[in-house]
């Protein structure tokens, strides 16, 4: 294998691929990136066995071939070369020589045949979707995914295609976030329900933050593929049944409160400082035209703040985990936020008047 390429053409794609590679792994080859040169196309692949990222770029090709080299070292070397530098890559026996100007290095390689490839059996034809749209679908719900929960299917995000809509749902059992966008076409053979694992969601968000206008999503029985420009991200799917989220969404809330998002968020930030550090409980009292937020902790410290809101129902007091409220308010885009509650034992529904497709459910807490 022999080719040359300018630093600026290879650095960003390689960094994106290297981002998938885990810092510590059991198999040495998992710290490597697979380089395959065919014609003038160089494809670079990184994997952690759950998520795989491939980037393809054009290079000045001399001799085709394939090998794997340590990803982090290759990225570090290329990053430290001067901008615009032309870099030559030559396979020499079991080494890859990387040279530029008066700099020359030899990196160890492992055979490309040992590289663990993800089998790609695409069953469902790809659906094309705006990168911005898909990103906000993930961004507004990803915070609610569980972390290292024994209910392993909660450590991921449900993506569901139905009736021309693509919906994302995440929950950790105490709160739930849901968002949906319209697809350009309604399909009979859509992707149905799939659960993308946590790392897959995070890598999708990372790739989408730097994507062209349109991306493609396709799924097989065991994988989801996201194609964006020169990149293809493949993530395994979680094999499990996601809980019936429709049952969790409260439908009998009759008390509606409209509050200024920033005012509410700041009042929660301030009062949360003196909440119990372990349980993070906050008491919210709904009164006519007003909500009162109060906290206290075992050191007998307390804080309270009231803020004006649009509400004219009966007085009601509900306890919440303040962190769950803060998480929702951090992703709400509008300047206002709508809360719908029923009583102290029922979940609260939070909606964003400027992103009407999104909704958030938070379970109450006994104080």
């Amino acid at each position: 294998m022999k080719f040359s390429v300018s630093r600026d053409n290879i650095l960003k794609p390689l960094q994106q691929v290297g981002g998938v590679v885990e810092r510590r792994q059991t198999l040495p080859i998992l710290s490597n990136v697979l380089l395959v040169l065919e014609g003038s196309k160089l494809s670079m692949t990184g994997t952690d066995l759950e998520v795989e990222m491939v980037a393809s770029i054009n290079v000045e090709a001399d001799l085709p071939g394939s090998l794997t080299v340590p990803a982090r070292k290759l990225v570090d070397i290329i990053r430290e070369l001067p901008e615009q530098a032309e870099i030559g890559f030559t396979q020499k026996g079991e080494r890859l020589e990387v040279r530029s100007g008066r700099f020359k290095s030899n990196l160890s390689t492992l055979p490309s045949t040992d590289f663990p490839a993800v089998e790609s059996d695409t069953l469902i034809p790809p659906v094309s979707i705006g990168a911005e749209t898909l990103k906000s679908l993930l961004d507004l719900t990803a915070f609610a995914m569980a972390q290292q929960d024994v209910r392993y299917f909660l450590n991921g995000m449900l993506l569901e295609e139905s009736e021309g809509q693509l919906r994302s749902v995440a929950t950790d059992g105490h709160r739930l976030a849901l968002n949906q966008v319209a697809l350009s076409a309604q399909r009979d053979d859509g992707m149905g329900q799939v659960i993308v694992p946590r790392k897959g969601v995070i890598e999708m968000q990372r790739l989408l933050s730097d994507s062209p206008d349109e991306v493609e999503v396709s799924v097989s029985s065991s994988h989801l593929c996201l194609s964006s420009g020169p990149f293809v991200l493949t993530t395994k799917l979680v094999d499990g049944r996601f809980p019936d989220y429709q049952r969790v969404i409260p439908k009998d809330g009759d008390k509606v409160i409209l509050a200024d998002k920033l005012e509410l968020k700041r009042a929660l930030n301030r009062t949360s400082i003196l909440s119990n550090e372990k349980f993070r409980g906050v008491r919210v009292q709904f009164k006519s035209g007003l909500i009162e937020i109060s906290t206290n902790n075992p050191e007998q410290e307390d804080a309270e703040e009231s803020l004006p809101v649009e509400y004219d129902g009966p007085e009601l007091e509900i306890g919440f985990n303040v962190g769950y409220l803060q998480d929702v308010l951090n992703v709400v885009r509008g300047s206002q936020v709508k809360l719908t509650v029923n009583d102290a034992n029922s979940s609260a529904l939070i909606e964003d008047p400027e992103a009407e497709q999104a909704l958030y459910v938070i379970m109450p807490m006994k104080l």
């Binding site: 070397i77 430290e80 290095s105 050191e299 804080a303 309270e304």
Partner: protein, 358 residues
Amino acid sequence: MKFDVEKSALIEPLQRVVNVLERRQTLPILSHVLIECSESGIVLVGTDQEIELSARIPIDSVDVSGVGAVTVPGRKLLDIVRHLPEGVVISCEAEADRFVLRSQRFESQLATLPANEFPWIDLAVVANDPIKASGKALKTLLSKTMFAMAQQDVRYFFNGMLFEFEAGLLRCVATNGQRLAIAEAALEGAPAGSRPILPRKGVTELARLLDSDAEEVEVGLDRFVSKLIDAEYPDYTKAIPSSSDQSFSCSRNDLKDALVRTAVLSNEVYKNVRLSLSTGQLEIFTNNPQQEQAIEQISVDYTKEPLEIGFNIHFLIEALSVMSGDSVRVELTNPSSPCKLQDPGDPSAQFIISPMVL
């Protein structure tokens, strides 16, 4: 105790004082800041028993209606103040064993501990009159040398910085036994012959303090107090190579960039690099147990006999990173003697690095 103060006047001094507090401590009062309220304003004090920082809010930016002193949880107080809107007035009042903070529609009560239990550093032994130093000059001295201090070395005096006062001069010295950084600056009224060693945390906190205000500081321990390391600093001058006949100059950035690149493939444990000098050229070579290697040549003005010498590559990179001039002068003697790095345009700072046997 009762006072009203604007958020903008309170937040900065409070932030600096809270910075000194350790996140985990054995005594509850060490997580508290002392608030002293008098007719001349407010003094905030934080300590970790090794260093102590006092910050003053002058009376013209605070409205005092009751004097007194109390300690309150520092980090919680800072968090609350930080999350209040910009420009608001904050009312504080100590009632019995509570500290009440109000602002607009927000009200909170914080736990207190009595001010007389605050663990002041005993300043009874301060002998010298305060010395005034330019904050900028002091900051430069620290930034050029602090990287070379040891960390958790059994030779505990290396876990700090020597402040060597000579007539009209302050010299800062830091070493971990393998590399040494020296920087000096003119200082009027320095108590000649005094050689205090400031502990590592004192040095880093002082550097942080100087980052925020670049004006004048009093080294006479008025607001920033640090315990000193009670030890005799070793005679570092023995480590400075005197005569050197084999030296070269080159672009500081070229040398640094070439080292950073080759460092990727140096041995992860020993971090060694081999420098080979020949007429007009320096070759930088690294390799590691995975049989990987990197090599780069740069042009230098070397004219003597060929010479090969090994170093810890990070000691070279760190010294080159704190230097400021365009070019660097490297003085060598032989493969078993230390090298000296200096900016040819600035003789006030020098960096000495011991060689490594390859």
